[in-house]
Symmetry: C2
Subunit: 201 residues, 2 copies
């Protein structure tokens, strides 16, 4: 898949990128992945469709790039001095990102894309990047003794984020601040060395 | 939405139901929701399409019914005498159901259906039914003192199932038996009274 070349931020190129991302998110929100056409995105972003093909190559690459740009703006990795607080702030941001209509449309598109091999791969890479980004937060918790030394960071984050994701995309449970803090507290209290040691990957 | 009338199991009617369910699951697996046509399902199941319209009314009702029938066959609520064992057996069945290609296609269809109001509602009802079915298991754990009396059963199940669901549908982490048992043990060890008390719903 072609990788978009670097562009000067703030220039004409960055404006095009932003406009195309916004048009992509809009098209996904309105029509889902199967209704997303490069032509419609180009028309809405007021760029030539050859520009989109040249820069992103495929519809799948365009969606992946819009997804990453969209979430990158919404979720940061806090460093407040308290691991519990860091995890609560992070998990609330994830919750807000999951609840945002644009994210839900993008997640829906990714999930529906399990039929598309390339899109499924984009989804896995996207999540691998997100898990890698939050790893320092978990490593700080280990250094402070708030998680066992052999806790797998990806498993810890999965146990915190998974219930929020499932509550929203499955039964539609309320994911208020208490629910989210409870997810963090359960994992901090429940992750003990033998249980966390020999799991996964 | 029309509710399918009861039919004698084993009779011609039950055979039609099974054939239509199987054809629906096949169509979803192959083409996703947007590619699912009643005509194609009727052809594959070798029934008249008016039979499908008469019995299920809409494509959405058909998908919901196929989904429920499919998962009902795969996930039971065990009663082994040990709550931890019950939860591990249950969670492994959920894991197997999530990993099964037919379930993944159905889940994908439901998730993509967030654009469809009726399908989203079917999804919520489906999950509410699943959570209700497993509630006795959680209540037994409370009676045995393995979970606090004020633990919310739906939240407990969400915290166990959520990470499995997310690991599969997000980053694609391995969800082996140890991962699943770890999800149960973390929630059993980490669900303390204050944390579980004031959450959700």
């Amino acid at each position: 898949m072609p990788i978009p070349p670097p562009h000067r931020p703030g220039g004409r190129s960055a404006r095009i990128t932003r406009a195309v991302h916004a048009a992509t998110v809009h098209a996904l929100t309105e029509h889902g992945l199967d209704g997303l056409s490069i032509e419609a995105v180009a028309a809405r972003a007021e760029v030539n469709k050859t520009t989109i093909y040249r820069r992103w190559g495929t519809r799948e690459a365009l969606v992946a790039d819009a997804l990453t740009a969209n979430t990158g703006r919404q979720v940061t990795v806090p460093d407040t001095g308290s691991s519990r607080e860091d995890l609560v702030v992070f998990a609330r941001q994830v919750r807000d990102a999951i609840l945002a209509p644009t994210s839900r449309a993008l997640m829906s598109a990714l999930s529906a894309g399990r039929h598309h091999r390339e899109l499924a791969e984009i989804g896995r890479r996207y999540w691998a990047d997100r898990l890698a980004a939050v790893r320092p937060l978990i490593e700080r918790a280990v250094q402070r003794g708030e998680l066992p030394a052999d806790a797998d960071p990806d498993v810890v984050v999965t146990r915190i984020v998974g219930p929020i994701w499932f509550a929203v995309s499955g039964p539609g449970l309320a994911v208020d601040d208490d629910f989210v803090a409870g997810c963090v507290d359960t994992v901090l209290a429940g992750t003990t060395s033998p249980a966390a040691g020999d799991q996964s990957r």
